[in-house]
Assembly symmetry: C2
DNA sequence: CTGAAAGCGCTTACAG
DNA sequence: CTGAAAGCGCTTACAG
């Protein structure tokens, strides 16, 4: 079966070499500028010319060279992902989500962890963004909460998408995760189970997510007439060890809580640890709720009731924001947390 | 305090604009080709010329544009990380390690997950490598075990570094993790504790790591005169759920094992789950060993005895291999697993 | 040891 | 709607 003539000729001409814009122009009998217009979807090309060029590009499998294009554009086709030190699962989920959005877009994802406590970190990001001429960057909590970083990017003219618990920026630069709602939902759930003596282990007060989760929790309880006394509020560091330390303190209280809400699953695992060692049974003697719905939640026994975040969606949205041409679009800009009930909560003893 | 004159002049000339090779050439009073030679560390530059150019580059903070350089070189300054579906912690650790090695090298890491079971995946990687003109790729298990993928990269002339349990390739392309040794160490440990009735939940037989771990375990036991009967060998899928299923089968055996070695921590967590539900106490009635030393190992109760892999080092070595100019070098090409004893093992009941 | 010319594969700015 | 010229910031190939 003979191939279509055009294809054969075009392929033969190239002799296995990757096609360039010059090849396409020559084979199509147009100037390279016209091919460039087709590549860049300029409306200033006659329909039949466009058709001819597009067919040819498809036939020879031509894809423009990102480095050449980037050099001419003075901007690369790379998206940077900037993050400080979230959990491994969170990083990976954001990455997968971002890659979902970037698939077949011609953009690639380049990862850039950094230490937001080190003094020169903003300069480090600046050098990275400038040198690579990034098309845009995704800012993951908690660097996403750093206004100085956002200001620097703005000054550089680098687009960015911030992932944060609340809207810290204009809508086209934000993916909002509404952590306050998650905290409130936990409050409602525990209240409905009958708990009145509640405690919370919050994340670091310097994290917006931590503040939102705890304020959502405390606020919702207050609206239902329940107050958490100060000694039942412990600040943790989002780590297992800090969860252990906080739980030890809370369970040693003269009037220990009947339920503990933890700012994340890692700290909830810390509560589990203390409970086992102290012989406190979950959920019979103590209810525990986490936040994240990490894989850990289902590995623990009993399986942990926790708040799920759609992290992969979050990453997808953030990357999609960076690819948009117009500000107006159908991209969803927020993601809602929701409670996943498992077996770590029951009515108070 | 007046600045050194040279610096001031050079900076003033640029007026905030990023310097190019032309600026450096002009300011240094040499041709751009000479500057290029300095950039590329050519020996064909007189020492004082080099010194003059280097000083100037430092003063104005000149760094060559990777896209321009890449276009001229026909090769980018990007390293690709290709992986299938390892655990989140593993992916992130390899990434951190790779970034350690790439720091200040001018190279960046671009992530590329793929599905090695999908038929077109090798073509997908080929397009990725060709389009981005990658400097090299890191192959993480299990894609690292795919000879067809390695052959394709070889044909493309793309350098690669394979991370695998055994040497599948020439030394300058391998980071070997010696999983067999890890399995053997577990055997020795359990044997020393007095166990004779052993079981193993292996990873998928299609994973080289899984085979190495189990063969190391079984072989070491055999050398000590202990055989594992076939019904005590269960194949899992490196997942929690498969660990649960395998453990249920093993513990229901007429003569259940006194110790179970699991091909990874996730499956060990599955064994824990079954043990809790069946009222089997760890380590009093059942000893359990995992592999990975993932964060999960210390979140479980009792803390899991497991085999640690230095994953970050592994990633660092793989990336370092790709940066090397000569084959001969001081880069270490292998990493040794070692047992981390915690509280999940004891003498048999 | 150093440099002028041409080129990497695209786009911008200007014409028509 | 289309194209010829110049340029993005580097390197290669060739001279000297």
């Amino acid at each position: 079966m003979p191939r279509p003539r055009g294809t054969h000729d075009a392929r033969a001409e190239l002799r296995g070499r990757a096609a360039t814009i010059n090849d396409i122009a020559r084979l199509a009998g147009v100037s390279k500028k016209t091919v460039s217009r087709v590549i860049n979807q300029s409306p200033l090309v006659r329909a039949d010319t466009r058709e001819k060029v597009e067919t040819l590009m498809r036939e020879v499998g031509y894809v423009p060279d990102p480095m050449a294009r980037g050099l001419a554009f003075r901007r690369s086709f790379l998206i940077g992902m900037i993050y400080d030190n979230p959990t491994a699962q969170y990083i990976v989920d954001i990455q997968y989500g971002a890659l979902d959005a970037l698939r077949d877009s011609g953009f690639e994802l380049i990862v850039h962890p950094c230490d937001s406590r080190s003094p020169g970190y903003i300069d480090g990001v600046r050098r990275f963004v400038q040198l690579q001429k990034l098309h845009g960057v995704m800012l993951v909590p908690r660097v996403s909460e750093d206004q100085a970083l956002a200001d620097m990017l703005d000054e550089l003219g680098c687009r960015y998408a911030r992932i944060a618990a609340v809207a810290l920026d204009s809508p086209e630069r934000m993916v909002v995760t509404h952590d306050r709602d998650g905290g409130a939902e936990v409050a409602d759930y525990l209240q409905t189970l009958g708990h009145r003596e509640l405690a919370m282990i919050t994340g670091p007060a310097t994290y917006r997510s931590a503040m939102e989760r705890s304020e959502g929790f405390i606020g919702a309880l207050r609206r239902r007439g329940i107050e958490i006394p100060p000694e039942r509020l412990a600040e943790g560091g989002y780590t297992f060890e800090s969860g252990v330390a906080a739980a030890e303190r809370l369970l040693a209280l003269p009037a220990p809580p009947t339920a503990i809400f933890c700012g994340n699953d890692e700290m909830a695992a810390g509560v589990y640890r203390v409970a086992v060692r102290a012989g406190v049974r979950i959920p019979q003697q103590l209810s525990v709720v986490g936040y994240d719905d990490s894989p850990l939640a289902t590995r623990l026994w009993p399986p942990l009731t926790t708040v799920r975040r759609d992290t992969r969606d979050t990453g997808r949205m953030a990357a999609a924001l960076l690819l948009q041409n117009s500000t107006a679009s159908g991209v969803r800009l927020s993601v809602r947390p929701h409670l996943v009930v498992r077996d770590s909560c029951g009515p108070p003893a």
